[in-house]
Symmetry: C2
Subunit: 159 residues, 2 copies
């Protein structure tokens, strides 16, 4: 079965939190921040500014994405979080999630999508994933997150 | 008298809002956002994450700055807003505010300061101001704020 994408519901929270906690790259403080955005979405829906969707295969939640319009811009959007279960890599869940987000953003006159990620070697898989989907790395800020942990910004301009 | 810098108090709000509203570069939605951060600081103090100071000459509030630690980083700080009354330009108020912020950030083990600003021609004065204080422009995202309005990011590495 190909992955399906649907809006996150409260009943999905445990599965999504398990995915976040099982993703070795995420620090505990990052998981906490991701949870805050999830709770904002579950409480307020799109008014929270955090569009949150899950990717499923055969009904099982295997990944999620959180994105939203960048404040103080017209047509620029940020992808804040994307995660796929370590046991479900290479099944197209991440691609399905990001494609669904891009389609949604396009349908709302989005022009630009930005994704920030770490330059650390354990993020190479994520960096290659964005590059393979035509995101261009437009900046690297050395030592941004902490000494030795750079911030990379990936950008895609929508047709 | 040289400019002085002190923590913003509730009694300063009217003067600061007048400065923001009289700054032609700021759109109404930007002034609203700046006010939200001011209110957060006045309500919660530094716990808000928004360090807010005013610059005065002879006791008159002529400018303000709002900065804070960048979430999910160790030692990186953002300058969110800085504004000086249009009638008080070139008196050193902006320099005094930014110097005070830098000293405060250094004292808290800050390593990096980032300032985002518009690439539009009416922001050239701001761009030159940051460059003159050893901020380096490290990225330009074309059409970030809206078509024709790029985002510039200035960076300074501390000591």
């Amino acid at each position: 079965m190909p992955p399906e994408v649907r809006a996150m519901a409260a009943r999905d929270k445990k599965a999504v939190m398990d995915i976040l906690r099982n993703t070795a790259e995420f620090k505990p403080v990052e998981v906490d921040t991701a949870e805050e955005l999830i709770d904002a979405y579950l409480d307020e829906g799109l008014l929270s500014g955090y569009y949150t969707y899950v990717g499923t295969v055969d009904g099982k939640v295997l990944g999620y994405i959180c994105y939203g319009p960048t404040p103080l811009t017209v047509g620029t959007w940020d992808v804040y979080w994307i995660a796929v279960s370590p046991e479900a890599q290479r099944q197209g869940v991440g691609r399905a999630l990001l494609a669904a987000a891009e389609n949604d953003i396009k349908s709302q006159q989005g022009r630009l999508i930005l994704i920030e990620t770490s330059g650390k070697s354990n993020y190479v898989k994520a960096q290659n994933f964005y590059s393979s989907l035509d995101y261009e790395m437009i900046s690297r800020i050395y030592d941004f997150y902490e000494p030795g942990d750079d911030k990379l910004t990936f950008l895609k301009r929508l047709g």
